[in-house]
Subunit: 297 residues, 2 copies
Amino acid sequence: MPHFTDQLAAAVRRTGNAVCVGLDPRWEQLPWPITTGRENEPNGHADAYLDFCCGVIDVVAPLVPVVKPQMAFFEELGPSGMTALAEVIRYAQERGLLVILDGKRNDIGSTAEAYARGLLGRGVSPWGADCLTVSPYLGEDSLTPFVEVARDRGAGLFVLVKTSNPGGGLLQDLVANEQTVYRHVASLVEKLSAETAGESGYGLAGAVVGATYPEQLAELRAAMPHTWFLVPGFGSQGGAAKDVAPAFDSGGLGAVINNSRGIIFAHARKEYAEQFGDQHWQRAVEAATKLMIEQLS
Amino acid sequence: MPHFTDQLAAAVRRTGNAVCVGLDPRWEQLPWPITTGRENEPNGHADAYLDFCCGVIDVVAPLVPVVKPQMAFFEELGPSGMTALAEVIRYAQERGLLVILDGKRNDIGSTAEAYARGLLGRGVSPWGADCLTVSPYLGEDSLTPFVEVARDRGAGLFVLVKTSNPGGGLLQDLVANEQTVYRHVASLVEKLSAETAGESGYGLAGAVVGATYPEQLAELRAAMPHTWFLVPGFGSQGGAAKDVAPAFDSGGLGAVINNSRGIIFAHARKEYAEQFGDQHWQRAVEAATKLMIEQLS
């Protein structure tokens, strides 16, 4: 069984970059060639999300190692959206991409195991994701079922540690026993990763650490030597290339940097709108992806 | 637009009890009349979950105010499970029950709003739930989108505060600024509920507080006068009637007590197995529901 984080490290080496493209379809931001004629069709929104995400995948698959579908936007559509999500995951993998499913799931004990068994494992679970984001509030016994299923199936997880949103600090920055809450979570995640480290030196329990807090990124990189980072907040949330540099180890591994809206809706960004616009939205996706790769290199 | 917690209070008064029946279908525990012939059918598991949950609903709808489907077990089956879940929600509401969807969802800002818009609101959202469980790790700006959508749609939410699992304390019991982390979360939830209180005096942001910690139940009841509680852990997780008594206010309102396995799989409990067994599993569900109502009264 291949080790997920070893696969991720290999994919980063192969493509020469650590860009993760977030697949966050939002109806009102889709280009018109995708939405036209579908507004009032029974499964029109789900069909549009599927077409759009596959169109993004076609462009980015030769360029980046990994994509991250956001479950919320598919779940928002009801069952038809969830069916589209399953197809997006499969399509991305067929095109050679690793898939991190952004669901921020969690629950206790055997219920957490149900999520893990359903969502994790390419070809062996109904959803077949390579990796899943997980929330830590329920504690260690809510995380270990995900780690165990991930280990058995060549999959991985990323646990929320320090998030990129303004309100994240309310809970995460509280100080208990001379450490922030996010450092307590970081210790647990690092322990789970040290226990499951692969050949790359990184384990199966990654950490979500926002690009909007560069100092904490450096602090956590030092404190979590076995933990791969998923870094959201680049681009539209304000994080820049210099902000995410501390997420990487000295060999240039140890992190993937996510960009969702800045890439998938690049056709509406002022630098691309005139040149490409809605009509050539895939060329805008390509330009924005290549620009981000260049910025990170 | 009706106020969710007012509806819940009215349903508790009408039925004379505060029992919430958890719909946690697990294939290996279903009675054989539900599973036979379906083991290898394409959508056999999803069809079985739908039949089983509707069969439970038929029994409990005249007896209790509310049911709580656990999303993990439906999601475990892939898209076919999610389609069954949507039908279970609709069926329960047609039979007069309120539906709390147990998904422990959360995300930031507009992504949280996508979950809220998709899941919350009877007749106005694809899933149509009356209420959703939500995780608090991402802070206030991850909760307010749920509160706002809930208010607009006559729906509600329950935020994880103090959970019933053994490992929940790792994070929740940390002490910061002389208060436990769960008390910090409780303060935020109480504020959101005070701002949205209905005629019953309770607001739209409820709290999940485990039955396995009766002292904390009493502490939180006092600290959260506007907050309705969802109390898991009764029965199979060890909580008893005396343990959950502190969850209620002096008028007998302010909480619903969940029981999942103890009711839906009552056919396998030693007190019912011989009398009813798999064949008459619905009569075991009825007996277990009536026993719990009696224990709580």
